[in-house]
């Protein structure tokens, strides 16, 4: 158990624990905040997995933008108070736990099918953190990247059209 592993386990537990709290808090704001904690923990895990750039992006995009947007909408609709019916009844609970449990089992079984570990491709060290991601992004993945920009544009237009009362 080296230091990295200890840190990893700690953040992993934090991520899973706060995710569990996220889905069980009745208060949407609490849920959102626990989700933010999960996202932070994930960012830490990304750093430990040699993906510093992605970790920063995680904080920047998810915690800094998307979750603020969520909070904004929750407050805009004044949904901050916990609704008495937000969680489903015992039947829903049973079905949900059953299905999610089955899924978890399957995913854990599926984990064994992954490729063997080892042979780490640590290009990061030679190229620096950002070029490692940026080079393929602007060469091999240039077309998907450009398409992403189109997607975002479409999303902006769509969001404006949907949310505006009068265009």
């Amino acid at each position: 158990m080296d230091g990295t592993r200890i840190l990893f386990d700690g953040f992993a537990l934090l991520a899973m624990g706060s995710a569990g709290l996220c889905i069980t808090r009745r208060n949407p704001v609490a849920s959102a905040l626990w989700l933010v904690v999960t996202l932070f923990a994930l960012a830490a895990l990304f750093v430990l997995l040699d993906a510093q750039f992605i970790a920063v992006l995680q904080v920047l995009v998810y915690a800094g933008a998307i979750m603020v947007l969520f909070l904004f909408v929750i407050m805009l609709l004044n949904l901050g108070r916990a609704a008495p019916t937000d969680l489903k009844g015992p039947l829903g609970l049973g079905v949900g736990v059953l299905l999610a449990g089955l899924l978890l089992v399957q995913l854990l079984v599926l984990r064994q099918a992954g490729p063997a570990t080892g042979g780490a491709a640590r290009a990061t060290v030679e190229q620096g953190i950002i070029p490692t991601v940026a080079r393929p992004l602007f060469t091999a993945y240039l077309v998907p990247f450009e398409i992403t920009s189109l997607l975002l544009l479409a999303a902006i237009v769509g969001a404006v059209v949907l949310a505006k009362r009068k265009l």
Binding site: G92, L99, L103, Q106, L110, A113
Partner: protein, 660 residues
């Protein structure tokens, strides 16, 4: 295969392409400018004349080469489907050379005649478009280098035949005649198709150049497969060439314009069956049963149709039954194995029957104009309304007499040589198979009847007193030169056509036989040569029979005593039986048409269509869909939660399949 042929012959496609171009131009004119008759005439006739010239050039070229195998020109791949490789290929050999000359030559003359005959018709451009299209398909039929290409022509001429029979489709009887021809032909075409599939099944190809050389190796002589193939092919022939039992459409086809009858229903299309049998001689030679069937059906048809012709009053119907009868002769010839004789008769028949039809067309034209001028509603085609027309139309009368003598078999006209050769071959074959003596006897009897009914036609039409009517008589006169010109040309061919194939007996060289030898040798079943003495006896007896028929007609028939059509008393006894065409149409009506109609109405319509298709399948499908939709709509609770549960279950199932 054949090495690349010299350049001029590779342009063989020009021959069918010219009439096709004519069709396109005339078709466009028919749609755009139906009144541009001059342009239509120039295009329609010009295409045929040029096609004839091209065909003649091609044949001259072929004559210089005189190859022992057909020249095949593959233009492009048509149906490359797995094992089945069908190219759009044309082939030129001695047999198709004869055919394209007949088709384009006689066709050109008939086109010229049509210019006069159809001159006042509002559908002038459409007519020439159809006619050109027909010639294109006929040339495709005879030039095709494989069964499918030939079949395209085969179906195409059927289509054009339908279009032209029903050319004046505003009269129901014409449209019905067209439909009858089409439907009856379909039965035959079905036979052709089945034969084609069988051939492919057993030889793996549909090209003539592959199938025929392979045939003797692929099929046992007299084996069931080859017999079935040839019999199905012959079924196709009986449809297209109007043999028993499918001949019934041809007399009705006389509803079309008379030049059409001359071109399609006398000279060209109906001979396609003969051509097919000759072309597939290699197959028929392997099946004695089929050959005997062909010969027997031919002989029976010759006799049977001749009897009907005896009592017909419609001038074109007489000629129609005569055509059926003469086609029977051709089948007797090719069934006997005397392919050259059959083709020879096909050629000469094309000349004199075209002449007869065009002559009758000339008569009808005159009669029609006469009745039209006086607004009388008499039948312009009924011989009882004619009589004594020789005075008004001397050219027509003289030329038709030549044709009559030819068809009766009076030497030295063309018909004599060709008919005599067929009968001679049949008799000679009788030495091997006695059945052929019977066929020969039937042929001879048919010859007697032929001489009789043709003389009857001439007598009632051109001689005796005129029964047309007093006012109408003044309107009768000879056709314009554009119509008599082709008649004269055909008359010359009728007189001289026999020279093509004068047998050695008369010191001739049997040129057509030698010309066709590369094609027919492979298929020819050698008939034992009869001694010259026997042959002389046969020739003399044939001529005698013809003479007896003609003299008998002169003796027995009294044109002076004939009443005009509307005053004529009903026929009785055997005469009525013959006049009613042996009640064959009624018989078919009773055993085929009515049961089919009953089956269609009572079973197919009221049970299958109404109950099964409409009730069970159509409405049932709708009901099932609605029921399914109802069930599905129960799942559409509109609640996202339910959808999510179902979705997750689906994901679990898919993942489960992967995890296993």
């Amino acid at each position: 295969m054949i090495p690349l042929p010299p350049l001029p012959l590779a342009l063989l496609w020009v021959v069918p392409a010219l009439p096709l171009a004519g069709f396109v131009v005339n078709g466009a004119l028919a749609l755009a400018a139906p009144r541009a008759k001059r342009a239509v005439s120039i295009t329609g006739v010009g295409a045929l004349v040029l096609a004839f010239a091209a065909a003649a050039l091609a044949v001259v070229e072929l004559a210089q080469l005189h190859p022992s195998a057909p020249l095949v020109f593959r233009y492009w791949e048509w149906l490359p489907v797995g094992d089945l490789q069908v190219a759009l290929a044309l082939q030129l050999d001695q047999l198709s050379a004869v055919m394209i000359l007949v088709v384009t030559g006689v066709g050109a003359l008939i086109h010229v005649f049509s210019v006069g005959y159809m001159h006042d018709d509002p559908g002038y451009a459409r007519y020439f478009a159809y006619l050109n299209l027909f010639v294109f398909f006929m040339l495709t039929l005879v030039l095709g280098a494989s069964f499918p290409v030939m079949f395209v022509g085969w179906e195409g001429v059927g289509l054009c035949s339908y279009l032209l029979i029903g050319f004046w489709f505003t009269e129901k009887i014409n449209a019905d005649a067209g439909k009858k021809a089409f439907i009856v032909n379909r039965i035959g075409d079905f036979g052709f198709l089945v034969a084609m599939l069988l051939i492919f099944r057993h030889t793996g190809s549909l090209d003539f150049g592959v199938v025929f050389p392979k045939a003797s190796a692929a099929f046992a002589v007299g084996g069931p497969v080859v017999t079935a193939i040839t019999l199905f092919l012959f079924l196709g022939c009986t449809g297209k060439s109007a043999q028993i039992p499918l001949y019934i459409w041809l007399p009705d086809a006389m509803q079309g314009p008379t030049p059409v009858s001359a071109l399609i229903h006398a000279a060209t299309m109906v001979t396609a069956g003969v051509y097919l049998v000759a072309r597939c001689g290699a197959l028929f030679a392997l099946s004695p049963v089929a050959s005997a069937t062909v010969a027997g059906v031919g002989a029976l048809t010759a006799l049977f149709a001749a009897t009907i012709a005896l009592k017909q009053w419609d001038i074109k119907r007489v000629l129609a039954y005569s055509t059926v009868s003469q086609l029977g002769y051709m089948f007797l010839g090719v069934g006997t194995g005397a392919y050259a004789a059959g083709i020879f008769h096909l050629t000469t028949h094309a000349f004199f029957k075209a002449l007869l039809f065009l002559g009758s067309g000339s008569v009808i034209h005159a009669m029609h104009r006469a009745y039209h001028a006086t607004h009388a509603h008499e039948d312009a085609q009924d011989m009882r309304n004619m009589g004594g027309l020789a005075r008004y139309m001397p050219w027509t009368a003289a030329l038709m007499w030549i044709a009559t003598l030819a068809i009766a078999g009076i030497p030295p006209l063309a018909g004599f040589f060709s008919k005599d050769e067929i009968l001679g071959a049949a008799f000679a074959r009788g030495a091997v198979r006695p059945a052929w003596y019977v066929f020969w006897g039937m042929g001879l009897a048919a010859a007697l009847l032929t001489a009789f009914y043709m003389t009857r036609l001439m007598l009632y039409t051109f001689h005796g007193p005129n029964r047309t009517g007093d006012r109408e008589r003044e309107q009768l006169h000879e056709a314009p030169p554009v119509m008599t010109g082709p008649l004269v040309a055909l008359g010359a061919l009728t007189v001289l056509g026999g020279a093509l194939n004068i047998p050695p007996l008369f010191g001739g060289g049997a040129r057509l036989e030698h010309w066709l030898a590369p094609v027919t040798d492979a298929a020819f079943t050698p008939a034992p040569d009869a001694s010259p003495a026997t042959e002389w006896v046969l020739v003399v007896s044939a001529v005698l029979v013809a003479a007896v028929g003609m003299v008998g007609a002169f003796r027995l028939l009294k044109p002076e005593a004939l009443a005009p059509a509307r005053l004529a008393p009903p026929e009785r006894g055997l005469g009525r039986l013959l006049w009613k065409k042996w009640y064959v149409d009624e018989l078919y009506d009773a055993i085929v048409v009515r049961p089919v109609l009953w089956l269609s109405r009572e079973v197919l319509w009221k049970i299958v269509d109404m109950r099964l298709v409409d009730g069970l399948l159509v409405n049932g499908t709708a009901a099932a869909s609605r029921a399914l939709g109802w069930v599905g709509s129960r799942l559409q609770t509109g609640e996202v939660g339910v959808y999510v549960v179902l979705f997750v279950v689906g994901v679990l199932a898919v993942l489960g399949a992967v995890v296993r």
